[in-house]
Symmetry: C2
Subunit: 257 residues, 2 copies
């Protein structure tokens, strides 16, 4: 209900997070003390002290006079991924689907009202989009996301649609709340979601939700490929059938944990 928290945050921690964000953007090049300080509007001394503590704790690494993010994040990130129940369960299915269809297959989970790409497998003729593992994407913009969104508790659906607004990604992206709701109805009815160039021009996709025992989606699996290949009955029949069989198996295994 409340768009969370005016509650006074720990500002020092926030600057540390901002610092890490800036270093992420800097990438492999990294940044020096003064550069970080000006970028964040801090005194050189404070930037220095922050960088030093983060380096001492191993979050960032110093090479000469430039700092960059260390593999500490890889360690934590992989840990998060491995802990997720869908990772172990969906990964083999995702690999299978990629091998069978020769297309790009994704496993996506819901987190904080958005979709997160947990695992992806390449088929022989995979399209490469900008989607990467760890990426957060608004749920209404892609097949897996819509499949999830259609199967969330009603309160959460309302919060997502009315709250954040429906940002546009391509001209085909559904940005009208009413239109999206009827789309979600049809997704629930069919059991799967389609994406016709709504997130990437020239790319179509099919997505199906993975639901828990309450029927609420915890994630989804999707198959994506070039629009001229994924069309007709392949897009509306064969791939959905394949996909629904796969997610069904995942759901069964999920229940038996």
């Amino acid at each position: 209900m409340t768009a969370h928290s005016d509650h006074r945050p720990v500002e020092t921690v926030e600057t540390a997070i901002n610092l890490l964000g800036v270093l992420k953007q800097a990438g492999r090049t990294g940044m020096g003390v003064t550069e970080v300080a000006t970028e964040l509007g801090l005194a050189k001394s404070t930037a220095h002290r922050h960088l030093q503590t983060l380096a001492d704790r191993g979050l960032i690494v110093r090479a000469g006079d430039i700092y960059r993010l260390s593999s500490w994040f890889l360690d934590y990130g992989v840990h998060v991924r491995n802990q997720h129940p869908l990772y172990d369960l969906a990964r083999p299915k995702v690999d299978e689907l990629a091998a069978e269809t020769d297309e790009k297959v994704w496993c996506v989970i819901e987190e904080d009202d958005t979709g997160v790409h947990l695992y992806g497998a390449d088929g022989a003729h995979s399209v490469t989009t900008h989607a990467r593992v760890g990426n957060r994407t608004p749920l209404h913009q892609f097949a897996a996301g819509k499949a999830i969104l259609a199967n969330l508790p009603e309160g959460q659906i309302a919060r997502i649609i009315d709250g954040h607004g429906l940002s546009e990604r391509t001209p085909q992206t559904i940005t009208d709340p009413g239109e999206l709701r009827t789309e979600l109805d049809s997704i629930r009815e069919e059991g799967y979601a389609l994406n016709r160039e709504e997130s990437v021009p020239g790319v179509h996709a099919v997505g199906a939700p993975v639901r828990d025992e309450d029927g609420h989606a915890i994630g989804a699996i999707s198959i994506a490929g070039p629009a001229n290949r994924l069309r007709g009955e392949l897009l509306t029949q064969e791939l959905p059938d394949l996909l629904l069989g796969a997610v069904n198996e995942v759901e069964v295994n999920l229940a038996h944990i």
Copy 2:
């Protein structure tokens, strides 16, 4: 020479990092406010405020009254991995080697005087050890690590051997500095390193360094398998040959960036 820094750290940031560490340990179960507070010796209110800011910034996610790490770390971690020059270059070779040998193949990099597992590929008969992507391991304890260690600048080698001490992992782990130095000499001479149950009982491995234009190792690739399969000429001839060919190609590509 100095084991770095008595320099006054930013304590607030340190507690935030500690908090994340505790939440990592808690895994998917997560932790509540009081649990975190007692674990870290903080007042409930401070733990509460920290958790709230971390959640607001998306680093952790709250489900009911328990908090756990979010995929924020996956995003940052994958970013770090993708940025590393060895990832793009070594990955195809690692996949190839795994397919050819049917064994487990790792790409390891050096960071902060330790080895970090950057990428791994499974062969048809892979052994599964506790090594995971993102894991930090002391360089002297495994084949890839020793291959790296043997090809670092002398100053850094001395710092690693004399500084941290040589911790034991199995009875076979080399813990004597003198013994390690002669081992490193032989590794430099042969071009590759062997690991005979020095990190995992029953597991042998071969590792070869990936060197930059100065001849210093930036990482290594290793092949690991059961001791009774990896022995004789396979271990000392065939696999090293295969491996040295692979790292050589990687080095060439590395120079042409």
